[in-house]
């Protein structure tokens, strides 16, 4: 599978959000690489730990921007965030060490996290840009 890129279609043109989405894309590509080359699964555990940190940072960043500019759909958007956050927190890190299928589960978690999230973000970003967010 070819590495993912933050194409103009996926870019939201709000720098802080795009930067964090880029970090998530890097994690997806790293995970894919580790799977392709059957590398040491410890690297996947490191990615999971980074993903938990990024989840907290990214969702709070977006929610504070939505609140600042009074985005009307904040509640729904936050509940989508909560679904991804719950899955990320609950992911069994220990399984990555001894269950090869867990690596694929991590990859699908990362991919679904990104895809559902970015599509939800598009509308939000349009609203925020109109209000002056950069």
């Amino acid at each position: 599978m070819r590495p993912l890129k933050l194409t103009p279609l996926l870019q939201l043109n709000i720098r802080v959000i795009d930067d964090q989405h880029q970090q998530l894309i890097d994690m997806i590509n790293q995970t894919q690489d580790i799977l392709n080359h059957q590398e040491d699964p410890v690297a996947l555990v490191q990615i999971l730990n980074q993903l938990r940190e990024l989840t907290i940072l990214h969702f709070t960043t977006e929610e504070l921007l939505m609140k600042k500019y009074a985005y009307p759909d904040l509640k729904n958007h936050k509940s989508q965030h909560d679904i991804s956050a719950q899955k990320t927190f609950d992911f069994d890190g220990a399984a990555l060490m001894d269950d090869p299928s867990a690596a694929h589960s991590l990859l699908s978690l990362l991919r679904s996290w990104l895809l559902t999230h970015i599509s939800e973000d598009a509308e939000m970003a349009k609203f925020l840009r109109e209000k002056g967010a950069e």
């Binding site: 555990v45 730990n49 940190e53 907290i56 609140k67």
Partner: protein, 333 residues
Amino acid sequence: MSNTQAIETFSDTNNLSVFDWVDARHQFLVGTYDRLMVTPDRKQISRCLYLAHQIQNACKHHESGILAALQLNRTPKHQYIKELMAGVLCELLGKKARMTPSSRLLLICASLTQDIAMLDLQDSKLDRQATPLTESQLKFIRKHATTGRSILVKAGVKDALWLNAVEQHHERLDGSGYPNGLKEEDISLGAKVLAIADIYAAMVRPRGDRGIKTPKYAIKEVFLQRGEQLDVTLVKNLIDILGVYPPGAWVKLANGELGVVSASGQDVPFPIVSVVLDNSGQLLPSAQTRDTQIKECSVIDMVDTPFLFNLGAILSSIWPTIPEDKKHGVKGN
């Protein structure tokens, strides 16, 4: 300074392990509660301020050690550890929210006295009750914030920050809290900080009707309450302070070793871990520091406290001791 003076200064100081330091503060708090229940007056209020001052001072240089000891001191004698832990978190959160040292001092006092109106119930019932709360207990609990404020006023507390934080610490941003169903803009900053500190500290301590929750679970739950119930920035600040793996959490590393988080990775997901058991489960002669950014030392997950009797000495050696003035240090009750 002359040598004689240096020796005198040294001899006036005790060096306490972080665990002993927390134990002494806990004992002092128990003594303060006993006195407050009998005679709520200025003397007891001064004891709260004194304890708050000590917490604030110790947090300057021993943040990780104190947080770890509060996480690890979990025997039945530590019945009010929640109030102490919430006090420490209030100091650290207050600092991040740019509250002044004197405001933070009052906020620590609010944390220590937040449940002053239900000490009796906590002490004799809730900590041992295995069944869910009864209707009348719930009614009593819903009144404790207002009653707590009245007790403190009667004892001579005049500071609005302290009184409001106690009265409003169960209010929630969406108006779903009690006693007055206040909304975000009407809740004081102190109460917002105390609410987060209290929820986290309450979850990581055991109670009769529910087991102890791991710090990982508690962090997730607090995070999920952001926005509707709790202030988003303050929740983020709490996680920045504690990390995803907070000090005192037991963790397993990729190389099979077991240890305790000795310091959270500030803003990064890689805490410093002091390994206590080797990969075959044998107790090491002394704790070994591991940088979890190194691949083979990656944190795999949190684990339950291992069942070993002789962990005290090795755990005490992980964090620097805290100097305590012999003349002015806390002397129990």
